[in-house]
């Protein structure tokens, strides 16, 4: 009894501490999710080796490191724009075809839950992308290690404190349930205006019983909820960063009544329910499976909008010294920044309220929420192929719906909306189906894998405001995958993978300006892809070497870019088609166990990512759909297609002491990075405004992002049966000079130089690498 009370008090104390620390941390964006919360976290959270089981089967050593290792810069595996990584919960794909980016909140939750593990990977050959990059999660708590654990996390990046609780309970070998819940909260320690507030809840149960001789029926149900709210960080030109005097300047916040208030806040809550029923034989090898996945919820993001009023952004180019034609005024503009007057170097919230209250014609400023209410339901039914272990056939289908609209979140002191704000309201529907089959087996020394997926999807659009509809679009999808491997001896093996496919375009690349005129991108259609890789590994004494060479070809890609068309002073959409790219490279990894206590790892990847052809485009008015430029060529051929590094490398050392300490460090270095081009600036239409070859070259230029490095250290200790702790410090030497990433705005401006007008692109925008930060984790198991 006393023990239970003591545990209860300890748990409560840890929660209170975590909550208070997080809440009291107030002074009164794609990168966030890619952070490595703790170098050890991802591995040790599932400390019974589940992580290794999951990762080791599907990934090469380089890829495994690259999941988190290069997150201090803008990094995409092999320079991909469209991730080739497939994430499945059981047999159902977690991606939503209506959304370009993965559900990071759900993925983050899955990586923190207890019952997430992989059965032996049923659809891959041994490692190295056997299933061509598929990540599998299994929700069943049956067979997982029983127990509870409580964790407290302290950090200085993105959040300040977090708590988490996990429980797995087994009742015999036929019933099990698991619970995980927690959250993390707090303001960022280095970037002002940045905060996060996340909670998660995971409930999972599994029931299993014999239904006939040799047949066992299993049912899993999992409920996952991960609501979160977090603010955004701006990208800035070098001029603004220099004026602000800090590399982590963020223009998305300001003081309101002395408290920090952010203008860009993303919120989401998308509860997900997963069920899976299996019928297995005694060997758990051949079975029937029916799975369902249902997601309902909302994602939203807020931002400041204005009408017939001055731009509220403190870093608007018209307020900067470079935006002044009179040098004397430029000096005056600079002095505002140098003096650090936060009313004008950050958002002046009080002034926005003041202006709204003066107005007799409605609000001039609003905090507008762009919302997506989504509903997604998928079902999959599959069976072992001819009763064989390695074969499977199935069918899956689903419907995905989204209701996109915007609505004022905060009227900022006004009682009515002004007339200058555009509201949109439209619905998307995307039913899809797929037939698939795969087989893996062994033929002599050769391990073979083959898969085929054939499907179709339709996209429907309807606007609530104007009864505007588009004819439903239909696309056919096809994916063929193959993999082969064979041992070359007891310590070496060789393999290859190939994938060919045609995938439907993203909805954002199909519809130009769905918030406005909705125009169908005439070139949007199935995008073709062809990936191939060759890998080999060998173990020499205590050193394991692995090498992988790859080539990835994309063609018939499409895109829509929204931008302000300066020549006609209109908000426009650029519809693009015929995009092709080729990414090639090689990845090398070496792991050495020098002594039982000392492990060394080295990784090196070289890649080249380039567009292979020019593309074609059309520019239309965003609001009316009227054609501004009916046809223009985009000079993409030869340009770098990704800002991901062409050279990525890392050295990792881990040392285990006799007293149970694990200490380690890593040095990560990347180079060969360029800002991705703005599609609009590569168009013939804009380049003809330039009168000299130098001007034309400047429009299509891709500024270098330079090299970057980071030194990270970590230490882990286990104390007895129950306590463990870890501390990791990232970017130990706080090297912030280098860029994390950058992008090129699509705008141009005209500079008067004596009697000559020169067309120049707006300055590229950057973020610098995050300074030194730490993660401290304490775990108590009971």
């Amino acid at each position: 009894m006393r023990t239970v009370l003591h545990r209860g008090l300890l748990v409560t104390l840890l929660f209170v501490l975590g909550g208070l620390f997080g809440a009291s941390a107030q002074p009164l964006s794609d990168s966030y999710y890619r952070e490595n919360p703790s170098w050890i976290d991802a591995e040790l959270w599932a400390s019974d080796g589940d992580y290794y089981t999951l990762r080791g089967e599907a990934y090469s050593p380089y890829e495994r490191f690259a999941i988190y290792g290069f997150s201090f810069v803008d990094y995409s595996f092999r320079g991909e724009h469209r991730s080739s990584l497939t994430t499945r919960l059981g047999l159902l794909e977690l991606s939503n075809p209506l959304e370009r980016y993965p559900d990071y909140a759900l993925l983050s939750l899955l990586r923190r839950t207890p019952a997430v593990r992989s059965s032996h990977s049923t659809i891959s050959t041994r490692g190295y992308g056997g299933d061509v990059r598929t990540e599998l999660y299994d929700t069943s708590p049956l067979g997982c290690r029983e127990g509870s654990s409580l964790r407290l996390q302290l950090s200085s990046r993105t959040y300040r404190a977090g708590v988490g609780y996990r429980l797995v309970h087994q009742r015999g070998d036929s019933v099990a349930y698991s619970l995980a819940m927690g959250g993390r909260w707090g303001r960022d320690g280095a970037v002002e205006g940045l905060f996060s507030s996340e909670e998660y809840l995971w409930l999972s149960g599994a029931w299993s019983r014999d239904v006939a001789s040799g047949l066992r029926s299993s049912l899993q149900i999992a409920l996952m909820i991960a609501p979160q709210m977090r603010s955004g960080r701006s990208w800035n030109s070098e001029e603004v960063l220099d004026l602000a005097g800090k590399r982590n300047y963020n223009s998305y916040w300001g003081y309101q009544q002395g408290r920090v208030r952010s203008s860009r806040i993303r919120r989401e809550a998308v509860p997900t329910l997963y069920t899976s029923w299996d019928l297995k034989d005694a060997y758990i090898l051949s079975h029937i499976n029916i799975s369902t996945l249902v997601r309902v919820g909302r994602r939203s993001s807020s931002s400041l909008e204005w009408s017939e009023a001055p731009n509220p952004s403190p870093d608007y180019w018209g307020y900067l010294p470079s935006g002044q034609s009179d040098p004397q005024v430029g000096l005056l503009a600079e002095s505002v920044w140098r003096e650090g007057d936060t009313d004008y170097t950050q958002i002046h919230w009080d002034e926005l309220y003041h202006i709204n209250r003066l107005s007799t014609s409605g609000a001039h400023y609003l905090l507008m929420d762009s919302r997506r209410d989504l509903f997604s339901a998928e079902v999959d039914a599959s069976a072992a192929l001819l009763g064989m272990e390695g074969g499977r056939v199935g069918v899956r289908g689903g419907v995905h719906r989204a209701h996109d609209y915007n609505t004022p979140r905060d009227m900022l002191g006004a009682t009515t909306m002004g007339e200058g704000f555009d509201l949109y309201d439209y619905r998307l529907s995307l039913p899809r189906w797929e037939l698939y089959g795969w087989y893996y087996g062994q033929l002599g020394p050769h391990r073979l894998f083959g898969a085929v997926e054939v499907g179709g999807e339709s996209v429907g659009y309807k606007s609530a405001h104007s009864l505007r509809t588009l004819s439903e679009e239909h696309f056919t999808t096809l994916t063929l995958k193959g993999a082969w491997s064979r041992p070359l001896g007891p310590q070496a093996s060789l393999g290859a993978t190939v994938r060919y496919g045609r995938s439907a375009p993203f909805v954002e690349d199909l519809l130009g300006a769905p918030e406005g005129a909705v125009v169908r991108n005439p070139w949007a259609g199935e995008e073709g892809l062809l990936d191939a890789s060759l890998w080999g590994e060998v173990t020499i004494d205590k050193v394991r070497l692995q090498m992988q060479a790859y080539a990835s070809l994309r063609h018939d890609g499409s895109a829509v870019e929204h931008f302000w068309h300066d020549p006609t002073d209109q908000y426009a959409a650029l519809l693009v088609g015929g995009i092709g790219s080729l990414n090639v490279g090689v990845e090398l990894s070496a792991r050495a166990t020098l002594t039982p206590s000392l492990n060394l790892e080295g990784h090196l990847a070289l890649g080249h990512y380039a567009y292979t052809s020019d593309a074609q485009g059309r520019i239309v008015d965003h609001d009316t759909g009227e054609t501004i430029i009916s046809a223009t060529r985009l000079g993409l051929r030869g340009l770098t297609s990704s800002s991901s590094p062409s050279l990525s490398s890392a050295l990792v050392a881990k040392y285990y002491t006799e007293r149970g300490w694990l200490v380690g460090g890593e040095w990560v270095f990347v180079a060969g990075r360029r800002v991705e081009p703005s599609l609009a600036l590569t168009s013939d239409h804009l380049s003809t405004l330039a009168t000299t070859p130098e001007e034309r070259a400047a429009l299509a230029a891709q500024p270098s992002l330079g090299a970057a490095s980071s030194v990270n250290i970590f230490v882990y200790r286990r104390l007895g049966q129950r306590w463990s702790g870890s501390l990791s410090v990232r970017n130990l030497f706080s090297q912030t000079r280098a860029y994390r990433g950058g992008y090129q705005p699509s705008r141009i401006k005209v500079r008067e130089n004596e009697s000559i007008s020169i067309v120049v692109p707006h300055d590229a925008r950057y973020q610098h690498i995050y300074p030194r930060h730490l993660y401290l984790t304490v775990t108590y198991e009971f």
């Binding site: 708590v163 507030s197 005056l332 004008y344 202006i355 007799t360 001039h364």
Partner: protein, 269 residues
């Protein structure tokens, strides 16, 4: 396991869940109180009409604070980077380097302006105040620069209240009335419109267009419209109208003539 232990365990779990929910809800990162509406005090030490005596001494060196109603701003684009402020003694055009001044200083609001250190000059009969003097195409002073300086110098003291222009005849117009908001009735466009309708802001030369209006008594008046005004392409009425606008004075065909600048099409009745 005893039932008490089970209860305690259940209680612990409920407590944990509650702590998490409370922890998340209590953060309040996006809970903000609306600020109070703070307005400037309506205190001045100089009537606008007395500014004329200070102009000849160069920039306003001493503390000079005026208070008046905003009678015109850049809402339609006819008053570029300017607002016109008027009190009972006179009017002044403040040159301010910002756009959408209409949202900062709406017509009918009362503002307090600190003119200390600013330069002044006359242009088309109206006293203009700005950062420094500059002889340039349309304006005689450079506008006050930067948002911070504008906000520091010109502050709203009272919200929008209805404005009543002074109703005068062309014959009664005087030079000392320049800058004030007036309404002139009994006007008809003197230019021929039989073949082609005239537009307010149509100009083949320069950045503004003048339209000649006459009264039944034979007095004449110009109405000047910037080619960038949002009503520049609207047609000049052929009927008799009353026009409200800020009064200027300029040379036209060798003689001094009064000029009205409208705030928008609503100034034509």
């Amino acid at each position: 396991m005893s039932s008490k232990v089970k209860i305690y365990r259940l209680g612990l779990r409920v407590l944990l869940l509650g702590a998490i929910l409370l922890g998340g809800a209590a953060c309040g990162y996006d809970d903000h109180q609306a600020p109070p509406h703070s307005l400037a005090d309506e205190q001045s030490n100089c009537f606008i009409g007395h500014l004329h005596h200070l102009v000849e001494m160069g920039p306003f060196g001493q503390e000079v604070i005026i208070c008046g109603r905003v009678t015109a701003n850049d809402h339609s684009g006819n008053f570029f980077r300017s607002i016109v402020v008027e009190d009972s003694t006179g009017a002044v055009e403040l040159r301010l380097d910002s756009y959408e001044l209409s949202s900062l200083y709406p017509v009918g609001s009362t503002v307090v302006a600190d003119l200390s250190g600013l330069a002044a000059n006359y242009y088309d009969g109206v006293l203009q105040v700005g950062r420094c003097r500059y002889e340039w195409e349309d304006y005689s002073v450079e506008p006050v620069a930067t948002r911070r300086e504008i906000a520091r110098r010109v502050r709203v003291a009272r919200g929008v209240e209805e404005l009543w222009p002074e109703v005068v005849s062309v014959a009664d117009l005087k030079a000392e009335m320049c800058g004030r908001l007036v309404r002139v009735e009994d006007l008809r466009c003197a230019e021929e419109q039989s073949e082609e309708r005239l537009e307010w802001g149509e100009s083949n030369y320069g950045s503004s267009c003048d339209r000649l209006f006459v009264t039944t008594q034979g007095d004449s008046l110009l109405v000047r419209t910037s080619i960038y005004a949002d009503f520049a392409s609207a047609f000049v009425p052929e009927r008799e109208v009353a026009i409200t606008g800020v009064l200027y004075q300029d040379r036209y065909e060798g003689r001094d003539m009064f000029v009205l600048k409208m705030r928008g099409l609503e100034d034509v009745e």
